[in-house]
């Protein structure tokens, strides 16, 4: 392993993390809900889910974030490394997997770890491990 010092951005990463933590704190303190994006979005697709208004408004804020950002400064770079087939496979796996596993990077990785949930520790370990393994296979075995 070598560290990519050129792309290492510790301060914006920490500051962005602090904002994410503040948002998750606000949502639980004010609305009593976990800021887990796969759960919020997935449950909007289910008939008869409770709290649709609040869930939809949270997601609307998230959706509009780049437009609000764009009012003040240029958007940060967004660079994709997969083509359409990769994006379709990835999206399907992320959609199915996060619903089966009851959470994603936000629900398990941030909120779950912060409230010291045993399930979230295991889930985060699992998706990090398979994420590392997948990138290893793609970059160092298939593309090597």
């Amino acid at each position: 392993m070598t560290i990519d010092w050129l792309n290492f951005t510790p301060w914006t990463a920490l500051a962005g993390g602090v904002l994410i933590g503040l948002a998750a704190s606000l949502f639980v303190l004010a609305n009593g809900r976990i800021a887990g994006i796969s759960g919020l979005l997935g449950s909007l697709l289910e008939a008869g889910a409770e709290g649709r208004g609040e869930k939809a408004l949270f997601l609307a804020g998230l959706l509009l974030a780049p437009l609000v950002w764009g009012l003040f400064t240029v958007l940060p770079m967004i660079e994709f490394q997969s083509g359409a087939p990769g994006l379709v496979c990835a999206g399907l796996l992320v959609g199915l997997g996060t619903r089966y596993g009851s959470g994603c990077t936000s629900g398990h990785g941030v909120c779950g770890l912060a409230r010291m949930s045993r399930r979230s520790v295991v889930a985060t370990g699992a998706f990090m491990a398979s994420g590392f393994a997948t990138v290893f296979v793609i970059r160092h075995l298939l593309e090597a």
């Binding site: 949502f27 303190l29 800021a35 959706l63 974030a65 990835a90 992320v94 089966y100 770890l113 997948t134």
Partner: protein, 139 residues
């Protein structure tokens, strides 16, 4: 009031993702590439987020109601079952292919990249497929 806080929480969450670099799939993949030229930035995103959220979330765990009077809806299960583990492993594979997880997927939907729309449609299909499989199982 709760409608406003929900919207603001989502907005701040999205601004945080953009600032942190989580909305850039290439950066996420740089973090997941342990064996290559590793960019550890995203570990610090989690450190920052958890450091801020740890006190409010643990306080919330012991409350019946939120500060604005909403019922506290926190997960209560502590069961480590196969669904949790298999689901998370599958999610990680998808995350590793494209470098996009659900939060950033929503946050980059309106940035004008066709890729984000393709990913979002596929992810929604995955959510929908999960719902279909669940209702079949219930029958």
């Amino acid at each position: 009031m709760r409608k406003l806080t929900a919207f603001l929480a989502g907005l701040i969450f999205g601004l945080g993702l953009l600032l942190a670099g989580m909305a850039n799939p290439a950066k996420v993949l740089g973090f997941l590439d342990l064996a290559g030229n590793w960019d550890p930035s995203l570990a610090l995103v989690m450190v920052g987020a958890i450091a801020v959220a740890i006190v409010p979330l643990n306080w919330a765990r012991r409350q019946q109601q939120s500060l604005l009077g909403a019922p506290m809806r926190l997960p209560v299960s502590s069961k480590l079952d196969r669904r949790l583990i298999v689901g998370s492993l599958v999610f990680g594979i998808g995350w590793g292919i494209a470098g996009i997880c659900p939060g950033p997927a929503v946050a980059i939907t309106l940035t004008g990249h066709w890729q984000s729309l393709v990913f979002m449609l596929a992810m929604l299909t995955g959510f929908w497929g999960y719902g279909v499989l669940q209702s079949r199982r219930a029958d």
